[in-house]
Each structure stands twice: as C-alpha cells, then as structure tokens.
Symmetry: C2
Subunit: 154 residues, 2 copies
DNA sequence: CCAATCAGGACTGCGATGGTCCGGTTATGA
DNA sequence: TCATAACCGGACCATCGCAGTCCTGATTGG
C-alpha cells in the first residue's frame, strides 16, 4: 500500500499549522487547534525537534517555532524525520537484513534507482505546495503545471 | 521508512526470474532457483496471477509465464499488485477513514500531488531496468553503461 | 519557590504482514 | 481410466511495528 505512517501525516499538519506569524506555539495549543490528542502532538513535535525541523523553547512561555519557512521544507524531509530514512526494500543500503540468497537473487540490491526516483520526487515538493493545494483552486494562480495530467490517471 | 512489503520484493525477484526462454516454470522450480520457501513463492505467484502480470497453466506440466515482457511492466504496477493501490495518506481518495477534523485540517486531502509524483516516478522504471542492473558487470556487454560498477559492490 | 513547558524514555494494545497449510480443481500422460 | 502434478482460493496463526499514553526529569519565566 506504500502507506506512510499516521504520525507523518500529523507532522505535516502540525508544521503547516505552525506557519503563522506567532512567535512560539505550545504543544497543547496546537493540539487544540487541529483536533488531535495532545500527547500525540507532543510526540510528533519532539521528533520534529530532534530532526531540526522546528526549534523549541523550554520553560514557561516556551513552545515551538518553525526552523525554516515552509518553502524550504521538502516533504521528503518530513517523512525521513518521522519514519526514518527512506529505504524501500530490505537490500538497499546498510540494512542488517542479510538477504541470505544474495548470490542467486536476480535483482540483488537494485531497488536503488527506484529509491532514488522516489527520493527526488519527494524532494521536489515542499510543504508550502501542500499548504497552497489546500486552498480552494479558485484562489490559486496556476503558476506552474509541474505534473502532466495524462499519466496521473490510472 | 516508506518500506514496501517483503512480498513485493519477492514479486520482483520472481518476475525477473520468470524472464527466460522457457515456456512455463513451476512454482516449486522458481522457489528452488531463488532460494525462497515454496509456499511463499506460491502465494506471490497467485497474487501476480490475479493481477494479470503472469498467466498460469493448470494441471500437470503446468506453471507460470510472464504475461508481458519485462520492459512493459513498470515497477509501480508490481507494487500495486502486491500491496494494493498506492495511497500514501489516509485522506487521499475513497479511503473510508473519516479524518474527523477535516474542516480544521490545513492540509486536507492534499497528499495527492505527492502521491502522483511517486506514482509517476514508479511508472517510469520497468522491471527490465532492475534486471539489467543486477547482472554482474562482467557479463554485460557495455551497450549502455547505465550503472557505475562502483556502486554495484556494497 | 512555583508553574509551565519541553525532553526522553518506557509501556501497552492492536492491526497488518509473513508465512504455512489444506481441501479442491484442472490438465497431462501412462 | 486413473494417478499425478500443478494451480486455486481460502483459512489460519505468530510476530512485529505502529499508535497512543504516561511518567519522571530538566529548563525557563514570574
Ligand atoms: S532480495 Fe536481498 S539480495 Fe535479493
Ligand atoms: S488529515 Fe485527513 S483531512 Fe486532514
């Protein structure tokens, strides 16, 4: 299903929500504003913080703030922060899974090109793009048609 | 981790292995040649068969055969056959997950562009590409040096 | 000193995945 | 005709990762 984890979905929501003019926002505040349980939001924010996507301010009147503007955060980086490095198959890089029959295996570790393709696809879309997309289409200027509608089908 | 299921990995191995001049190959035979337990290979082949990627011949001297040449099988199709349709987030298309706070959610169902990007990246790589990469460099005529031998190692 | 907030774990329940197995059906060929 | 080889379509169970919660510190502001 190529499904990414729910936490990653939350992370995008949280990051987009953080993009306001406010100085810092607290974890309970964000949780309330997007309707996700507070402990879960806190967990997401902690992960994002250690990944360097948000900066934190401890103590009373503390909170979180975006480390960069949304335009500079590719969605692939968010996924990597939440789900770990993107590695489709077991035999890509330093994964410890031995793949016992490596000598017989006709594809060996050759998911790499696929991996790279996804990687670059994910690097080309920023969180700002996802935020923009959420705005009803009438409000958007069609600045760039990056994707062909033709092969979007199937 | 964006990890795809192990069964999908096997599927690619099996499909590439099916690409020989032989008429049909049996499930036990394939299992033996790639060193994966037979029942598992059988399961994979059944899925591939119902997805129309391989054709089957029942009865004694039966077996499986590729429905198309490897060049015409994009890797995305294999993934879809094994793991179901590619849908990154919960709120993409007709998934039943309600996403209760949809009115508040700042990204709404907007994983769609990301989804499409991955989709098209996965459609651009065929199984033939993966097979080529797997053959040891010495055996390949350098008709096209698509891959550096350096990173074949690992 | 006290309150608010983040940090970093441990912990648990659930669901999907992987792997196996079994009874049934179809085709070959002796 | 009959035995055999292979696929078909399930059911079945163990395991593992994920989602979600909670608890104990550390840090800052009032
Ligand atoms: S699946 Fe790991 S080496 Fe082939
Ligand atoms: S996460 Fe589903 S609508 Fe926002």
């Amino acid at each position: 299903m190529l499904r990414l984890s729910k936490l990653t979905d939350y992370a995008v929501v949280v990051l987009v929500r953080l993009d306001t003019g406010l100085e810092v926002q607290t974890s309970p505040g964000i949780a309330a504003s997007i309707g996700i349980p507070e402990p879960t939001v806190a967990k997401v924010l902690k992960s994002l913080s250690s990944a360097g996507l948000v900066t934190s301010q401890r103590g009373a009147r503390g909170g979180y703030r975006l480390a960069r503007v949304l335009e500079d955060i590719p969605v692939g980086e968010v996924i990597a922060a939440m789900d770990g490095p993107i590695a489709l198959a077991a035999c890509v890089d330093g994964s410890v899974t031995e793949c016992e029959s490596r000598s017989l295996c006709p594809v060996r570790g050759r998911w790499d090109p696929v991996n790279d393709a996804i990687q670059s696809a994910l690097s080309g879309i920023s969180l700002a793009d996802m935020r923009e997309a959420a705005i009803p289409a009438v409000f958007r200027v069609p600045h760039s048609a990056v994707l062909e509608p033709s092969d979007v089908s199937r």
